[in-house]
């Protein structure tokens, strides 16, 4: 039945978790249960009937709202810290400006105030077919097919796609976290474990319904950032259909350590191109010792996009990604990162 004021979400049972143990137990006891934090993605998906959990475990009371100093000069960001609070934390802004910049490139201020760190990692693709239960989608309904392959696929993947799914991960924050080699802390029925950021999200393969490598009953509790900050040579460059408040067609998180004009360490993570923030550490390593010049960066882009494949409507993404990689690395090398409020590319 349609609700006069708009779409009505299906009913569910509600548990307000008072402790992490309580939340893990509630989640592990019911495979239909979903964790609710900021709600900006899950509630939206429930209104579209893409998600219809029988039970909601509200974790907003859990003590996961702190940003802590780590002995190595890094930071541990609690899973419930809002996206705004991370971006505007003075320590994040000073030490990890790449992360702050990527967060401020995403969504709107209202959404960033509500959305949490853990929820940002767990947000689902904005593929039109995933969002429309009237169409086939292997991610939403495994085995039903993929509407995007051969369909309207302007926003879809150019790297790492499978014959079952060509969706992309929508986050900006996660692209920066991939470049910074963050660590995800999760807790579940079998205790606590660390997941390297680049292993957290996965490619679709034969199981596009799985966005990440967490086990049933696990909850993201924190993100850990290490001591290497790339505070001087970084840039988050996001290209989209509008000047603000739109998902990336292509985004690049670039970070460089440069000594005497030569690359010591280079990180390039791409958003809008794959089922996960795309990073190729083997390719990056090949460029150690090379001059930090536009010519080198063009070769980097060639190397990173060697396997890129358009789907038709999104063929433009391949040359666009090439140019964006070169530009973002050039911005990083020059120490002139893209400023998100500026509407021209530097």
């Amino acid at each position: 039945m349609r609700h006069p004021g708009g779409r009505r979400v299906r009913h569910f049972s509600y548990t307000r978790a008072e402790t992490l143990g309580h939340a893990v137990a509630a989640l592990a006891a019911n495979p239909q249960a979903r964790v609710l934090a900021g709600g900006t993605n899950l509630i939206d998906l429930m209104k579209y009937d893409v998600e219809h959990p029988g039970a909601i475990v509200d974790i907003n009371r859990l003590p996961l709202r702190d940003i802590e100093e780590l002995p190595n000069g890094g930071l541990r960001i609690g899973a419930l810290v809002s996206n705004s609070a991370v971006a505007y934390d003075p320590r994040v802004a000073e030490r990890y400006p790449l992360l702050a910049s990527a967060i401020l490139a995403g969504a709107s201020p209202q959404l960033r105030n509500a959305a949490t760190t853990g929820g940002n990692l767990l947000q689902r693709t904005r593929c039109y077919y995933f969002y429309d239960p009237a169409t086939p989608c292997n991610k939403r309904e495994p085995g039903s097919g993929c509407g995007a392959i051969g369909g309207v696929n302007r926003i879809h993947a150019i790297l790492g796609a499978s014959e079952h799914c060509i969706a992309v991960h929508p986050s900006d924050m996660c692209v920066a976290l991939a470049a910074l080699s963050a660590t995800v802390e999760v807790e579940g029925p079998d205790g606590r474990r660390d997941i390297p950021f680049t292993d957290f999200h996965r490619l679709p393969g034969d199981h596009p319904e799985r966005d990440n490598t967490m086990h049933q009953g696990e909850i993201v509790t924190a993100i850990r950032l290490e001591g290497n900050h790339f505070a001087h040579h970084h840039s988050y460059l996001k290209l989209r259909d509008r000047l603000s408040y739109a998902f990336a067609l292509i985004s690049v998180a670039a970070a460089l350590d440069v000594k005497d004009g030569q690359i010591v360490d280079m990180r390039v993570a791409l958003g809008g191109v794959a089922h996960k923030p795309w990073r190729d550490t083997l390719a990056e390593a090949e460029f150690a010792g090379q001059p930090a010049t536009r010519e080198t960066f063009a070769t980097v882009a060639d190397r990173l996009l060697a396997g890129a494949q358009g789907q038709g409507d999104n063929d433009f993404k391949v040359p666009m990604a090439h140019k964006a990689i070169v530009r973002a690395l050039s911005q990083a090398a020059a120490g002139t990162p893209q400023i998100q409020a500026e509407k021209h590319v530097r």
Binding site: R10, Y14, R16, T40, A107, P109, Q110, S244, A341
Partner: protein, 173 residues
């Protein structure tokens, strides 16, 4: 389960302070803050536009921070302080931002206006916007289909200027 059996479902207790008044409520967990405000609370100043967090018409202040009320289940906000457009000011006693929107003709149809004003008040409280470019970027979560953006930015700049002048006066005193 349909709407006719909904009343038999368990309700949850939640205490909310709305525009300064405390309310102890029993509500179903799937009721959004937006539907609570516009329905049982009879505060229809907050508008339902897209109902999906895309347009910003439903923006309210939750513990002083601007958020989309359509994407919050009210039950998750126990203990929170909510400020809606009705709580910012009334026709006889308008908030400076409401006054500025009137003075600058910062609306046409007015449907997005309560969300625009709540968002602008949140923006000023955040204190991150200094330039007109930054105001526009940081108001991008509020769409105006009439296209009153130029006047909206004028109104916000005006209030920012008033606050800055007050700050200078206070510092001088």
């Amino acid at each position: 389960m349909d709407i006719t059996t909904a009343d038999r479902q368990p309700k949850n207790r939640v205490a909310l302070t709305i525009n300064g008044d405390r309310h102890d409520l029993e509500i179903h967990p799937w009721v959004t803050l937006l539907d609570l405000l516009r329905g049982p609370m009879q505060l229809s100043g907050t508008k339902k536009g897209c109902d999906h967090g895309q347009c910003g018409a439903c923006t309210v202040l939750i513990d002083g921070e601007r958020m989309n009320s359509c994407l919050k289940f009210a039950v998750t906000l126990d203990g929170a302080e909510i400020t809606t457009i009705e709580g910012l000011g009334r026709p006889e006693n308008m908030h400076p931002m409401q006054k500025a929107f009137v003075e600058h003709d910062a609306y046409q149809c007015g449907y997005c206006t309560p969300g625009q004003i709540c968002s602008a008040v949140g923006l000023l409280k955040e204190g991150k916007a200094g330039t007109r470019e930054e105001i526009r970027e940081m108001m991008s979560g509020n769409l105006c289909r009439c296209g009153a953006y130029v006047n909206i930015a004028d109104a916000i700049e005006d209030v920012m200027g008033q606050e800055a002048r007050c700050g200078i006066r206070e510092a001088a005193e």
